[in-house]
């Protein structure tokens, strides 16, 4: 009866709550609050309704109200599912995961035998990573319900504790405990699931009990591992390897290769294990075994312990492969090259065993030269070819191409073969040293082949990239290289033109889009870059791995609000990830995928420590500070950011480089690819730039803190915070930006790279010093104001320099590359002026604390107690006037720049000409193609012009707002 009544109650409750949930889901929080009020009127002690009301307040931006309601509910210790779930949602949204633990812990105290509550409590501990409590809760669960998963949650919770204790403790106490727990279950015959065996293996491996692990795999428990194919084999082999039982591991891979000739990872392991046997087994070798190698099928059963034997075995595989006829695999061919490469590294004279490397490459190229994968297969082996023999290799490979060099292909296979030859030629370095003229004719030839390719490559599959797209890629790589090596920016425009043209015909080809994005960024066409970026449809994970391609460069072209929006999108991703990733940990326990738990934890940290995340959050806040045009707005903006200037708050040494620096495809010689050292250098440099920017932000926040009344318990350190930060800023020493290369993935500098070492910092520092000096004077009105007055002069001088440089750069950009730096300088100057405008508000309020109400004519409303400081006030007004002048001068020069960019100026005229069409075109259709390319160039130039004008408009808009901002301090 009672149970029945509860059921009726819960149905009624559910019906009453439904509308509140609906309003919450629809995002109508006011209605949700009203609805909750209605329900609570009828039933004032309805806890779940209270919590939903709190949640509605939270989502409506009233965290405090939400908090106090939740506190009151918490004190009543709810135990019903809907209330606790709703509270969990609210705490999650507030990122207060510890509170979720406490509400469930309280509930469990009330109902210690509830499986549901305990499960929720366990997952709550998982979210906060309290491994000990996890363990206790899991065991409590197992006690009331004898289910295996609960027991193994407990075991895994013990394993996780190794993360928090010293290594020796982990080995001597924690892991043995985990092992004993599992052994107990094994002895009782209770181990059921595959995941439980995997967890056991993991525990054994963590203790280096490899022999024991191997025994498990070979025993009855090993049979439980079924779903990971090949896992048992590879696992066994890996364990054997760890036991130094290389021979057994080696033999396993030979066996696996017999079953699958084309599985590349087996080859890799085969090589690895063989090399380990190299010197070891030789001595054990009996002459009998040596003898038996003569029969080929014996080769399967004998380990290969020297290059000669490997070569024999690979030959056996190659022979089997040849019998497959047209179904031949690629791996046996490449395996020989792999051996060649290894022997070369060890200086072991591979020619003696394997013959000429060019023959090996040719052996592969003849059957597979018409495959799209050919180049990427061969790429890593091409450096084996001595540079002096590169042309010889090309001649050899060309023999299998049954057309002469100038003949156009008749079918797709011929075309693919020609494309592979071209890529190999480039990778061998045969294109890089061509003369400028030869490079141009090469580009022309590639374009001729591209145009012709369209006629034979009627793509059957619209989802594939047309084969002949490759010609445009290589041509644009050459043009890109020329533009950097020879400083010929018209080559960039031409590259953009052919890429835009090809993209029209092959709209999915992201290689085109990535290159276009790079080119537009290089020449400061932010708006054009933006439209290309949109085509790439970059989202979620890619915001981190590919964000560097665009985010850092947008604000370089004055598109400040767009840049800020990009940062915001990335920030949303990062912060959502953090709470989501906690849920994924709970899934891993739920499904018993224990091996993934550490991986998930590391992944979460990797994302959380992404340097891009930090960059976006710092840049976003700085760009927020460019928006206010009154002191009140500035106060509000600073307040919103919740910066504690005394606290750096960023674990710099933990920052991770998540950039995908391989994303742009390249056929350049290996030596020209980005090296890990270069990647590291650019990363470290970026981190330093972010540090600098973060310091700027903290300085501004500290300057605003000068306005706050000194709190009673003010610790002395707070007073000299600003000077300390200023000196930190002044001594910052950034590593040099690594020299630019033609490498396509090389990150280009952004505007923030130019702040250090420029006039912007001295101007900023002087202005901050002034704020501090004024605050000193406020504390001690009788003090000497000479230092402050001197600072004002210095600020005036520095800012004049800043603006002069910007003006000069805007008036004298006679090339596209300079156009980018003109925009960068202008944007940086705008930023510095904006920071100074913010500080003007600080100055004014330091010299003249605002009276009761905010007043624009504060100057005349002095409080009686204040000392009049007419000299300071006068000088500050003068300073503001000077800043205003600088700002309007900059505004004017951006205007002049815009007018010049808008006209078809000399630069435009020069660029609009397709430099590649001067030579006579003999084949028909050539003229028409060139005409079309001419049009594409014109279209690209127009796109650039439009982009520059958009930047100019935005800058003008920003600067005129800034002028108004300054005006408020003049009158």
């Amino acid at each position: 009866m009672a149970a029945n009544k509860t059921h009726v109650d819960s149905v009624v409750a559910e019906r009453r709550l439904r509308p509140i949930y609906d309003w919450l889901d629809n995002g109508n929080y006011k209605k949700a609050i009203q609805e909750a009020d209605k329900v609570l009127k009828k039933q004032p002690d309805f806890l779940c309704a209270k919590v939903l009301r709190a949640l509605a307040f939270l989502r409506n931006g009233k965290e405090d109200t939400c908090d106090s309601i939740l506190e009151s509910v918490r004190s009543e210790v709810p135990v019903d599912e809907p209330t606790l779930q709703a509270m969990t949602i609210a705490y999650r949204e507030m990122h207060r995961f510890q509170n979720i633990c406490s509400i469930y812990a309280n509930a469990v105290q009330k109902e210690p035998n509830s499986e549901d509550l305990l499960t929720h409590l366990f997952m709550a501990y998982v979210r906060v990573g309290d491994f000990k409590k996890q363990q206790q809760t899991a065991m409590a669960l197992y006690k009331i319900r004898n289910k295996n998963p609960y027991y193994f949650w407990g075991v895994m919770s013990v394993v996780m504790q190794t993360r928090e204790v010293p290594e020796n403790m982990a080995r001597s106490v924690v892991l043995p405990l985990a092992e004993r727990m599992v052994v107990k279950m094994i002895e009782q015959g209770k181990v059921e699931a595959e995941q439980e065996v995997q967890l056991y293996l993991m525990i054994l491996e963590m203790q280096d009990k490899i022999k024991e692990a191997l025994d498990v795999l070979n025993g009855p428990l090993g049979e439980k591992i079924v779903s990971n194919l090949g896992l048992v084999h590879t696992k066994k082999a890996a364990l054997l390897a760890r036991l130094d039982r290389w021979k057994e591991a080696h033999m396993m891979y030979k066996k696996l290769l017999r079953e699958d000739l084309d599985r590349w990872n087996y080859y890799q392991e085969y090589f690895k294990t063989s090399m380990k046997l190299w010197n070891k087994v030789e001595s054990e070798r009996t002459s009998e075994a040596e003898h038996s190698r003569e029969q080929t099928d014996k080769l399967w059963h004998i380990p290969d312990v020297c290059p000669k034997e490997i070569a024999e075995f690979l030959q056996l595989l190659a022979d089997i492969n040849l019998e497959q006829g047209s179904k031949m695999f690629r791996a046996p061919f490449l395996a020989k090259l792999e051996l060649f490469r290894f022997m070369t590294e060890k200086e072991l004279n591979p020619e003696e065993l394997l013959g000429d490397v060019m023959e090996l490459i040719n052996d592969y190229f003849v059957p597979f030269g018409s495959k799209p994968c050919c180049f990427s297969d061969l790429q890593i082996y091409l450096p084996l070819v001595p540079s002096l023999r590169a042309s010889e290799l090309m001649n050899k490979l060309s023999l299998s191409y049954d057309l002469t060099e100038n003949q156009l292909p008749e079918n797709k296979y011929q075309m693919q073969r020609h494309i592979n030859l071209t890529k190999i030629r480039r990778s061998l370095g045969l294109q890089e040293n061509l003369s400028s003229e030869d490079k141009i004719s090469l580009v022309k030839e590639l374009l001729r082949r591209y145009d012709h390719g369209a006629s034979i490559d009627q793509v059957a599959n619209p989802t594939d990239f047309p084969i002949h797209d490759a010609y445009v890629l290589i041509a644009s790589h050459i043009l890109h290289e020329m533009s950097i090596n020879e400083q010929k920016e018209d080559k960039l425009v031409e590259a953009a033109a052919i890429l835009e043209h090809a993209l029209n015909h092959s709209p999915s080809n992201f290689h085109f889009k990535l290159l276009l994005l790079k080119i537009y960024s290089m020449i400061g066409a932010g708006n054009a870059a933006q439209s290309t970026y949109e085509l790439l449809d970059i989202k979620h994970m890619q915001l981190d791995s590919l964000g560097w391609l665009h985010c850092a460069h947008l604000s370089s072209t004055g598109l400040v609000s767009l840049a800020s929006a990009h940062c915001e999108a990335a920030l949303k991703f990062f912060s959502a990830n953090y709470s989501d990733s906690l849920d994924h940990l709970t899934y891993s326990y739920k499904y018993g995928s224990f091996l993934k738990i550490s991986e998930f934890v590391e992944f979460r940290d990797r994302l959380h420590n992404s340097h891009h995340y930090t960059r976006c959050s710092v840049e976003r806040m700085l760009s927020e500070l460019l928006m206010p045009s009154t002191h009140e707005q500035a106060l509000e903006a600073i307040g919103r950011m919740d910066i504690t200037p005394s606290d750096d708050n960023i674990a710099w040494e933990k920052l991770r480089d998540n950039r995908d620096l391989d994303v742009i495809i390249s056929f350049d010689p290996k030596k020209k690819h980005l090296t890990p050292e270069q990647m590291e250098q650019t990363f470290l440099r970026e981190v330093e730039v972010i540090k600098l920017r973060r310091l700027q932000l903290r300085c501004l926040a500290a300057a605003f803190d000068l306005l706050k009344p000194a709190s009673g318990d003010a610790n002395g350190s707070c007073d000299d915070l600003l000077p300390r930060l200023i000196s930190e800023l002044s001594v910052m020493n950034l590593p040099a930006f690594p020299a630019p290369t033609t490498e396509l993935n090389y990150p280009i500098k952004s505007r923030t790279d130019f702040i250090h070492g420029s006039r912007h910092l001295p101007a900023f520092v002087r202005a901050l010093q002034l704020a501090y000096q004024l605050s000193e004077l406020r504390r001690d009105p009788q003090g000497n104001d000479a230092a402050a007055l001197n600072s004002m002069t210095k600020v005036t001088e520095e800012i004049s320099q800043v603006c002069n440089e910007a003006e000069e750069s805007l008036d004298n950009d006679h090339s596209l590359l300079m156009r980018r730096s003109a925009l960068e300088t202008a944007t940086n100057s705008f930023e510095t002026l904006s920071f100074l405008a913010l500080l003007c508000g600080v100055y004014k309020n330091l010299v003249q604390p605002a009276a009761a109400g905010p007043s624009k004519k504060g100057k005349k409303k002095k409080e009686a107690t204040d000392q009049p400081q007419p000299k300071l006030i006068e000088s500050l007004t003068k300073l503001a006037k000077h800043l205003n002048d600088c700002c309007s001068r900059l505004l004017e020069s951006v205007g002049r720049w815009e007018a010049r960019v808008a006209l078809v100026d000399k630069l435009n005229e020069h660029l609009c000409k397709w430099s590649l069409d001067e030579a006579e075109e003999s084949d028909r259709g050539g003229d028409e193609q060139n005409k079309r390319r001419d049009q594409m160039v014109v279209a690209v130039v127009a796109k650039l012009r439009h982009s520059y004008m958009t930047s100019a408009k935005e800058l003008q808009n920003l600067l005129s707002h800034r002028c108004k901002h300054f005006e408020a301090y003049i009158s």
């Binding site: 990971n228 490449l334 599959n461 791995s545 891993s588 995928s593 990797r606």
Partner: protein, 173 residues
């Protein structure tokens, strides 16, 4: 020629040469991590000798009784590595895992307009089991084929007797 290995979280940072293709959807993180947590053995990546990701497959096992089956959630191969049998290798792997799990069949959904994929699956032995109306939302919505292949446990091939009438997405179990 491929190297198959389990997909790991770090692959999410470097799968761009596959996912930048507009026909491969980049999902929110939760989607990938859920699969990694629940069916790690069904999430495999095919790697080239130079270590590049050529393609990957995501799948799961679900259903009860005779409906216990393997499901292909996503299969994608980089445009630069097509027509090399990478997809076949990945599919064969998923089928084998499903065999080991004693599943009755493997199924997948495909846009009715995706002729290339349908042809490939047909060549791998899949049949159109039924049409699911307006399964893919878009403008306009598009129907899906539910394609199936029986595994050895389904001795009488009951799971692959095609349905004569199309079904609505909400009726798909």
């Amino acid at each position: 020629m491929t190297a198959l290995r389990p997909f790991t979280c770090n692959d999410l940072f470097k799968f761009n040469n596959v996912n930048l293709d507009p026909l491969t959807e980049t999902y929110g993180l939760s989607f990938y991590l859920q699969y990694l947590a629940h069916w790690p053995e069904y999430f495999q990546v095919a790697e080239s000798p130079s270590g590049e990701i050529m393609g990957y497959i995501m799948g799961k096992a679900e259903g009860s009784g005779e409906k216990w089956h393997g499901h292909v959630t996503a299969l994608t191969v980089s445009p630069d590595y097509r027509r090399l049998g990478v997809a076949n290798t990945l599919m064969a792997y998923l089928e084998e895992v499903s065999e080991k799990k004693n599943a009755y069949f493997v199924d997948l959904f495909v846009r009715v307009s995706n002729k290339v994929a349908i042809k490939m699956y047909t060549e791998l032995g899949y049949i159109v089991y039924r049409t699911v109306l307006e399964y893919y939302s878009g403008d306009p919505d598009e129907d899906a084929y539910d394609m199936r292949k029986a595994l050895s446990r389904d001795v009488n091939k009951i799971s692959v007797v095609p349905l004569r009438h199309p079904v609505r997405p909400e009726d798909v179990d």
